[in-house]
């Protein structure tokens, strides 16, 4: 618990000392880390590997964005609409996709996500398709606070990040979290201890999808863009990479992975255009030497108690 509060305090303190460039980066990393934490609930804790998480991100992003663009709803309620859309959407996807397991589950989530991507393109007049649309600066306000201001944006990202971090921590410490891990480790055994596997998996999908949707809605609000590139396949793979790097099944791992990957990309693109090549090499090294990701390695070697 204290470690996680310390991280939040550190991020708070960094607001006052970071130079502009890194300050802006960190705000973005925190929102993307929420997306990665969402992914971790399903993949890291429950063992459900989705290849279509972009659809959940977009459910929140477009739920929020379209209600602002089409109905001129203000930012606060629009965010809540984005969140509600995510809940309903992830419940629906869960009910359908959880009829499959393993590889079939990966394919089904990938296909659903592609269907969402193509739907966004198809309704080009409404969604502006590939190009996307901008949420005007004037509209990006909640209770008079201008979210386009870099300081406010940082704090908004920090608040969302903290809520999600503590929520995941609470989940994995609760009896329910223990059951999710049991499902990941040995589903058949978990069933024969009397747990309703289906209900727990569905719960994990809804929690994960909703959190990913919250990240999507926040991203749109804080950075002002809504676009179909967030629905593409690579954006579904991204949280998988973040989680694998940072440590699946650790609470802090997704943040560490997101931060690591973000700066890896940032620093390597200063050196070469082929920045994904660098990322690829690092990923290969990590899978060889730290198969459980950065935080997973730390847990294995030093901090056995790390949730």
């Amino acid at each position: 618990m204290s470690l996680h509060l310390a991280l939040i305090a550190l991020l708070f303190a960094l607001h006052f000392i970071l130079p502009d460039y890194h300050h802006g980066n960190l705000a973005r990393v925190m929102v993307l880390a929420v997306y990665a934490m969402a992914y971790n609930v399903m993949f890291g804790y429950t063992g459900l590997l989705s290849l279509g998480h972009a659809m959940f991100f977009c459910a929140g992003m477009y739920g929020m964005g379209l209600s602002m663009r089409l109905y001129e709803i203000s930012a606060g309620p629009a965010f809540l609409i984005g969140l509600s859309v995510s809940v309903i959407f992830s419940l629906l996807i869960g009910l359908l996709a959880l009829r499959t397991i393993g590889v079939a589950f990966m394919i089904v989530t990938l296909m659903f996500s592609q269907a969402i991507f193509l739907t966004i393109l198809y309704f080009n007049p409404i969604t502006r398709g590939d190009e996307g649309f901008v949420i005007p600066q004037a509209a990006r306000q909640i209770a008079g606070i201008d979210l386009s201001d870099s300081g406010n944006r940082y704090f908004a990202a920090l608040i969302l990040f903290s809520i999600c971090l503590l929520a995941v921590l609470k989940l994995v410490r609760a009896p329910t979290g223990r059951v999710l891990i049991a499902i990941r480790e040995n589903e058949e055994r978990a069933k024969m201890l009397g747990y309703d596997i289906w209900a727990h998996k569905l719960g994990a999908v809804v929690m994960s999808g909703t959190m990913a949707g919250a990240a999507g809605a926040a991203y749109g609000l804080l950075f002002g863009t809504v676009g179909a590139s967030f629905a593409e396949v690579p954006f579904s793979i991204l949280p998988l990479l973040y989680v694998l790097l940072g440590g699946p099944g650790t609470v802090i791992g997704p943040f560490v992975g997101t931060l690591f990957m973000f700066y890896l990309r940032d620093l390597s693109s200063a050196l070469t255009d082929a920045h994904m090549l660098v990322a690829g090499v690092v990923l290969i090294l990590l899978t060889i030497y730290a198969r459980r990701g950065i935080m997973g390695l730390i847990r294995e070697k030093w901090l056995k108690w790390l949730p």
Binding site: P175, R178, E185, N186, E188, M192, L193, G194, Y195, I197
Partner: protein
């Protein structure tokens, strides 16, 4: 003495395609008994108990547990009603600690009193003699200890009916003796259904024995009756 039936089946069958694994089995298990289920390999014992606890559905027939028809209930609901099943091939949460394994077994029945969890886990581990290993990773333990952990999980569930599928397989002689003592103690509060190949264990523990062959019950009775039964001799030794 009036015996109360805990579990009974009425013409339960299971086919796998054209193969008949279990056919028209009528079975009755009174409360408080230790029942051994024996039979040659492939007799349908595991298939039969898998139907009892809901791991595989019946092709036809009816299963009653504690007076209620559970034939259509999914496995987890039957477990919630007081069955426990330990797997023939050791099935634990290998990556988790011994404590977590047992906690997962204990937790469902403590939903309102989660603060006694640690105590209950400790009790279950102590009964099988694994209390010293609480913090070890389950998969790192010796095979015999993993078997004991499975039994501890079964005990942690505090079931009405404990189904043990070949629990002594792979245990040393000393461990088997401890196991016999343990099950005798468990049986004071729990009905036990035991699939077992080790005939010494069966004779030491069972109140009654049910013998299966080719998917059917061919004999049932006290250990002495079974020992003298011709059909059983034939099934085991060949006719």
């Amino acid at each position: 003495m009036v015996t109360v039936s805990l579990l009974s089946t009425k013409s339960v069958s299971r086919h796998f395609g054209g193969l008949i694994a279990v056919q028209d089995v009528d079975f009755d298990l009174p409360k408080g008994e230790i029942r051994a289920l024996i039979g040659p390999n492939g007799a349908g014992k595991t298939t039969f108990v898998s139907m009892l606890c809901g791991r595989i559905p019946v092709s036809s027939g009816r299963i009653t547990f504690q007076g209620k028809d559970v034939t259509q209930l999914p496995a987890h609901k039957r477990i919630q009603q007081g069955m426990a099943y330990t797997f023939q091939i050791t099935s634990i949460f290998a990556e988790l600690s011994v404590y977590e394994n047992v906690a997962l077994a204990v937790q469902p029945r403590l939903s309102n009193a989660i603060n006694t969890l640690a105590q209950e886990v400790e009790t279950a581990l102590r009964r099988v003699g694994l209390q010293e290993h609480s913090h070890r990773t389950a998969g790192d333990m010796a095979y015999g200890h993993q078997r004991l952990l499975e039994i501890a999980m079964g005990l942690g569930q505090s079931p009405q009916l404990l189904i043990l599928d070949e629990p002594t397989q792979g245990l040393s002689d000393a461990e088997v003796d401890d196991f016999i003592t343990l099950i005798k103690e468990v049986a004071q509060t729990t009905t036990v259904l035991l699939i077992e190949h080790n005939i010494n264990v069966v004779m030491a523990l069972a109140d009654r024995i049910t013998v299966m062959n080719f998917g059917q019950i061919i004999a049932e009775g006290s250990p002495d009756e079974i020992r003298q039964n011709d059909a059983v001799q034939t099934a085991y030794l060949g006719g």
